[in-house]
Symmetry: C2
Subunit: 210 residues, 2 copies
Amino acid sequence: MGVAVEEIRAPGRPKSEEKRREILKAAVKLFTEKGYEGTSVDDIAQGAGVSKQTVYSHFGNKEALFAKAVSTKCKQSGIDPDLIDPDVPLRQMLVELGLRFLGLITSPEAVRVNCVCTSSAETHPELGRLFFEHGPVQTIEVIDEYLVTQNARGRLAVDDTRQAAWQFLGMLKCEAHMRAQFNLTPQPPSEVKRYVESCVDMFLRAYAPK
Amino acid sequence: MGVAVEEIRAPGRPKSEEKRREILKAAVKLFTEKGYEGTSVDDIAQGAGVSKQTVYSHFGNKEALFAKAVSTKCKQSGIDPDLIDPDVPLRQMLVELGLRFLGLITSPEAVRVNCVCTSSAETHPELGRLFFEHGPVQTIEVIDEYLVTQNARGRLAVDDTRQAAWQFLGMLKCEAHMRAQFNLTPQPPSEVKRYVESCVDMFLRAYAPK
DNA sequence: GTCTATATACAGATAGAC
DNA sequence: GTCTATCTGTATATAGAC
């Protein structure tokens, strides 16, 4: 009998690693779409093109897979710091930031991730914190820093920049985000723009240098 | 044999009505605590002290009972309009309203109801609208109206009172509400008070009469 | 109208062949 | 490591007695 030709493998567990990625990808997709209870391990296995047992051998149980999937997703929210340009006129920059921010948080995917994280915050407190730190807090820090530089240039007179950052984003977010969350018809872009400009102007009046 | 003494009944279906109320009460409690998927009809039947079949004969199926329960609950959110007193000094009134509002929306129960409504908004669009109209919108209208009266008295110069109401509540809500939603340690009352005052002062600077 | 008992489906998780 | 087949619990919903 001939010697069995064994498949040559790269170091580590190449085949296994690919399946692991596929499982995680499917899990992220399904959990963020349908939530924890609404997603079965069978669904994930099918979505990843593997058997259920393979899912279990990689991640142990459904809970552990859920935590892994959501924490993976959480690290992809937040606003891009590169948007900030301290030399652009203040009002223009704030309007731009506001519109980007609203676009980000009202996207269907962001709404779903947010929803899953809040739903599971009671049973998985670490997920609530993870999402909060990587999404909202990270964005607040970007705005905070920007306000500090504009303060230094004498364009603003903000005493507590972090508070002001929360005020700015809170103002912007409220109605649009709720409408998205509750699945209502979104406001037309013209109205969103009008609202953002109203917020920016109001913010600038309140924090104008004396 | 003696004539059977039949229980005297008020018109309608008195006994049935009481069970119906008990079922609805238990359903509201459980659905708002554990969500749709996390609550079984068995749990509700047990919570109401009736059999499962009684639940079905009253409400048909789980979906219908859920819709009924959540819509019942939605009609109990929102801020009390009687809090408004147009004669109280403006700043004091806004701080008072802000603190009440934050207390209301960060209560564990309100957070849960909010969470259940957002989670089920995709499958039950009517629940999203119901909650939005009875909670947030109702509160906005109370603030809006208040701003109109203060405008008329020359204490404010708000051009668009509805926008300003959203700005005010949005600002207040943002961080505290998120912390509650994501199950993080709440801010100490002193910090909340400081933030509310900061928001009110900022609002008053932006909308001060010329 | 209300109950107990049951039909049916599907979930999470595991056993054992390859 | 990966698959198919299966165990076990529990869910929604219904049938039939009283």
